[in-house]
Every structure is written in structure tokens, then in C-alpha cells.
């Protein structure tokens, strides 16, 4: 994507020469990319290409890992989230995340899971409304409205994942990161989540990692292709509108990957 194209799109989140390390091992190298506001960007690539690590740098959850380290900048609305004075907690509230495996909090009820990071200082009525809004946004309300007080572990995997989406949505973030959100789900649950992603894009800027190209083609507006180089460092190969990337890839490696996997 040329600089001119990037400038005319409204970009909420961007990275500048972002590299990520585990100890001495460089997992992601010098990735510069911008994410369009209120669009779904898919990160695709073979496994081990660093796409999940890259995603985890965007909300500063990468650094929670032992010996994990980040270089470069991540700009949220022009502000570097890795700048010295920035509180990672505040960043994570603005940039929500949905993980590969559903991870509802096992000791909290469905209602409390939803509200665990919702705004503070609400009264009972407001909290309930907030939960309903978030659960409706995650297309889960009708299925759980009668058992809000029960354990989330009783829900199916797809329902649990939607609960995690509701939990992230209730915190009212600007960006939603999704790390292969359907990887552990069956096809029907996957379809529900995919539909949901398209709808959530009306309100949030979504960056989703997927190893499934059909899924990227179905749900995303923009697709970025990553690949590990000979040293095992994940690099960004190209990023473009999804339709164009899948029909006229600009890089032969992208083409190899797409044609090798499609069909």
C-alpha cells in the first residue's frame, strides 16, 4: 500500500519498524503497517510467521512474557504506546483482545465475566443494561439471558468465545485484536463469529490473525501477509485490500502461498 493510499484512509493504529524478541530470538522484524479505522484487517501467513506475536505487541501483552521485549513504535491515534510514561493498563483498555482459545474467567458468572472490566460507578440497572448491550453486540444475549448467574464453563466453546468478545466489548475499546478467534471452534460456531466480526467492524477497528485464507477473504477489508525469512524472523510481505491481494497479489511469495493453499 503506497503512502498516498495510507494517508487518505483514516488510520487509528499503526506500527513503525516494530520488532519483537523472546530473549535473544527475534520473532518479528521491522514491521510497519497501518490499520484502517472501523475496518477488519486480517493477518495471514503460515504458522510460525510471527503473526500472533506481532498481534500481541499491539496491546502490550507480549511484554508480559518472560524475557519478552519489543523494539520500534506502535502508534495509537498518533501516540506511541511504548513511550516511557504510558501505562500499559490504559492501553489495554483502549485495545481489547480475544484469544485463540476461549478464556472466560472460571470463577465468575456469565454476568460478572461480561462486566469485569466495564465502566465503574454504575448502579445495578446500568450495569445490567451494559451487560445486555455487550452480550447483544456479541450475539450471545438470547442464549444466556436466562442463566446470567451461572458458570461460563457450562457454555459451548463458541458461546464461551462470544462471551470473551462481549467481555472485551463491554470495556468499550477502540480496537479489537483477535488471535485466531475461531481456531478451536466447529464450523457452525465459526460462521457465527465471522458474521459477528463483520458487524463489530461498524464500531471497532479490528485486527484479526487467521491461518485460514478463506476466512480472511470472507471477513476482512484489508489483508496483510506475513512470512518468516531464512533466519526465522517474521516479516510483513505485503498488505492490500483483501479483494486485490487475493486476486492480484503484488509479491510472488504471496501468490505462492495463496495458490498453494487455495484449491
Amino acid at each position: 500500500m503506497s503512502a498516498a493510499v495510507a494517508a487518505e484512509r483514516d488510520e487509528l493504529l499503526a506500527t513503525d519498524e516494530l520488532s519483537a524478541y523472546y530473549g535473544d530470538r527475534k520473532a518479528v522484524g521491522d514491521v510497519s503497517i497501518a490499520f484502517t479505522r472501523k475496518a477488519v484487517t486480517a493477518l495471514i501467513g503460515p504458522s510460525g510467521c510471527g503473526k500472533t506475536t506481532f498481534l500481541r505487541c499491539l496491546n502490550r501483552i507480549h511484554e508480559v512474557g518472560f524475557d519478552a521485549r519489543v523494539e520500534g513504535r506502535v502508534l495509537l491515534d498518533g501516540q506511541d504506546i511504548y513511550a516511557g510514561a504510558v501505562d500499559p493498563m490504559a492501553i489495554r483498555r483502549r485495545i481489547g483482545m480475544v484469544f485463540q482459545r476461549p478464556n472466560p474467567f472460571p470463577t465468575l458468572s456469565i454476568l460478572d465475566n461480561t462486566l469485569v472490566c466495564a465502566a465503574r460507578g454504575l448502579n445495578r440497572r446500568q450495569r445490567f443494561d451494559c451487560a445486555e448491550r455487550a452480550l447483544r453486540a456479541a450475539a450471545l444475549w438470547d442464549e444466556v439471558k436466562d442463566k446470567l448467574r451461572s458458570s461460563p464453563l457450562r457454555l459451548s466453546g463458541g458461546q464461551q468465545q462470544r462471551l470473551c468478545i462481549a467481555r472485551a466489548v463491554a470495556a468499550e475499546p477502540e480496537v479489537l485484536l483477535m488471535d485466531e478467534p475461531t481456531a478451536s471452534l466447529d464450523p457452525i460456531a465459526t460462521a457465527v463469529i465471522e458474521e459477528l466480526m463483520a458487524r463489530l467492524a461498524d464500531e471497532f477497528t479490528i485486527v484479526a490473525v487467521t491461518h485460514n485464507m478463506q476466512q480472511a477473504a470472507r471477513v476482512s477489508d484489508v489483508t496483510a501477509f506475513m512470512l518468516a525469512d531464512e533466519a526465522g524472523v517474521g516479516r510483513l510481505v505485503e498488505v492490500d485490500d483483501t479483494a486485490r491481494l487475493f486476486t492480484k497479489p503484488g509479491d510472488h511469495r504471496t501468490e505462492d502461498y495463496i495458490t498453494g493453499r487455495f484449491g
Binding site: I61, M89, R92, R93, F99, N103, T107, V116, C117
Partner: protein, 289 residues
């Protein structure tokens, strides 16, 4: 005699040895389990006769006066263990959290080593420590010094189990909490600890079971008392100590009461151990689902 016949005989002999060995092994297992049943049976037979309402609720009577009970000892046991728990749980939990969150490096390894050392220290030596810290300087025996000794006895188990329990909470759960913008404080106290709670409660029950029958450090900390003592700053009666004192006394009435007290102790300890096992089963199920 043919070679085949010789082989047959050797095989038969080896089979006989095998059966004898297996029988011997079975015998040893039964002996160990049987010892428990023998002790348990004897304590029940001897102790059941001594237990009645006044035994559970009355004060000890002076020598020569029939009757009397261990009510103050039961109360003292509860008070001392309650104070010990209140002291041991925060220290044990905090150290467990530290070991789980900062698990590598020299200092955590040193702490784990110290914890293992402490778990092997005889309770009588810990009693001497409690005496040196809380009895000698104040110049009087006290229940709180006994609680201090019990706390030391409970700590190793609490530290290691809470570390393991916290570690066994899937990393995804903790990351999920942090990714929502929670502080480490909230993620640990609000999300991770409640998930690890059944395992931690199991450890606590086992630790309490361990000190319930502990007697040695009480000799020069709680010391014992003839009264309804509730002030932890004073010497206090403890059930295990009463069992010891009565057992080595020359009076049949007291000896009978020792059996009664022993039965109470065994029941309490077994109930706690079984409770811990049930709790553990629940903890395993919770993590699997």
C-alpha cells in the same frame, strides 16, 4: 534326567518363589494398613466409653475427683489454630504468589530450598524457636506463642501448594485478565487466586490437620491451663497436650480420658484429611472442565 525335565523343575521353582514373594509383598501392605486399623480400633474401643457431654464441655477436675472433661482443651485448640491460620495464610499465600510470578532465578530457588528445609525441621525445634521469640522475652507462657509455632509448621505446605495452585491456573486466564487492562493486583487477586482457591483450601485443611494433633511444641509455649482461658496472651489448655499429660499420669481416670481425647483428635484429623481429599477432587474437576 533330561534337560527338559531340569528346565521344568527350575521353572516350577521360580513360579513358587514368585508366589511366595507376592504373598510377602501383600503381607507387608496388609501389615501397614492393618496397623492403622489396629490403632484406630483400639482408640475407638477405649475412647468411646470416655466420651459424653460433660467430657466435651466440662473443665478438668483435680486429681482424685471423678469426672471432668477437656472442654477448655477443645476451645484452646480452636483458638490457637485460628490465630496460627490467620498468621500463616497471608505469609504463605504471598510467598506462593511471589514464587509463582517470579519463579526463576537465585532468590526464588533459595526460598524454595528454605521452605523445604523448614518442612523437615522437627516440631520440637520449632517449639524452641517460639519459646525464644515469644516466651523468654515476655517471661510467661502464652497461647500466641503456640500459634506462632503452629504457623511455622503450616507455612511450608501452604507456600509450596499455593505456588503450584497458582501456576496450574492456565496462562490464558491471566493473560485474558491483563489484556482487559486489569492491574496485576486485580488479575491475581480477582481472577487467578479464586481459580486456584480449591487447591489452596485443600492445602490449608491439610496444614490444619497436621497441627491439630501436634503436641511437642506446646509443652513450652501454650503450657496448658485448668481454666476456661480465652486470652491468647495467657497459658492455654490444648487437647493434644491434655492427652499427653493424662496418658503419662498414674491415674486410671485420667488415662481413660486420654483415650477419649485421642479419639477426638483422630476424628478431627481424619475429617480434615478426608475434607481435603474431597476438596482436591473438586479442584481437579474445576481445572479440567
Amino acid at each position: 534326567m533330561t534337560v527338559a525335565a531340569l528346565g521344568q523343575r527350575r521353572l516350577r521353582r521360580r513360579r513358587v518363589y514368585g508366589s511366595l514373594g507376592t504373598a510377602l509383598a501383600l503381607l507387608c501392605a496388609l501389615l501397614a494398613a492393618g496397623a492403622l486399623l489396629a490403632i484406630l480400633g483400639y482408640v475407638i474401643v477405649q475412647g468411646a466409653g470416655a466420651i459424653n457431654w460433660s467430657f466435651l464441655t466440662a473443665l478438668p477436675h483435680p486429681v482424685g475427683v471423678p469426672g471432668g472433661g477437656v472442654g477448655n482443651g477443645i476451645l484452646g485448640t480452636v483458638i490457637i489454630i485460628a490465630i496460627a491460620t490467620a498468621m500463616a495464610v497471608p505469609i504463605g499465600l504471598l510467598t506462593g504468589i511471589y514464587l509463582a510470578l517470579f519463579g526463576r532465578g537465585v532468590i526464588p530457588e533459595a526460598l524454595r530450598f528454605l521452605s523445604d528445609v523448614l518442612s523437615g525441621v522437627p516440631s520440637i525445634a520449632i517449639g524452641l524457636f517460639a519459646y525464644a521469640v515469644l516466651v523468654a522475652p515476655l517471661k510467661h507462657f502464652s497461647a500466641v506463642s503456640a500459634s506462632f509455632a503452629f504457623m511455622m509448621l503450616m507455612l511450608p505446605l501452604l507456600v509450596r501448594t499455593s505456588e503450584q495452585a497458582i501456576r496450574s491456573v492456565p496462562q490464558t486466564v491471566r493473560e485474558g485478565a491483563l489484556a482487559l487492562g486489569m492491574s496485576n493486583l486485580r488479575a491475581t487477586v480477582g481472577i487467578v487466586l479464586p481459580t486456584a482457591r480449591p487447591a489452596i483450601i485443600t492445602a490449608l485443611l491439610l496444614a490444619i490437620a497436621r497441627v491439630t494433633g501436634e503436641t511437642a511444641p506446646l509443652l513450652f509455649t501454650a503450657f496448658g491451663s485448668q481454666f476456661w482461658e480465652t486470652n491468647p496472651n495467657n497459658p492455654m489448655a490444648v487437647l493434644a497436650l491434655q492427652v499427653f499429660t493424662y496418658a503419662i499420669s498414674p491415674y486410671p481416670n485420667w488415662q481413660a480420658q486420654a483415650w477419649g481425647g485421642a479419639l477426638l483428635l483422630i476424628v478431627a484429623v481424619l475429617v480434615l484429611s478426608l475434607g481435603a481429599r474431597l476438596m482436591l477432587r473438586r479442584a481437579m474437576q474445576g481445572l479440567e472442565s
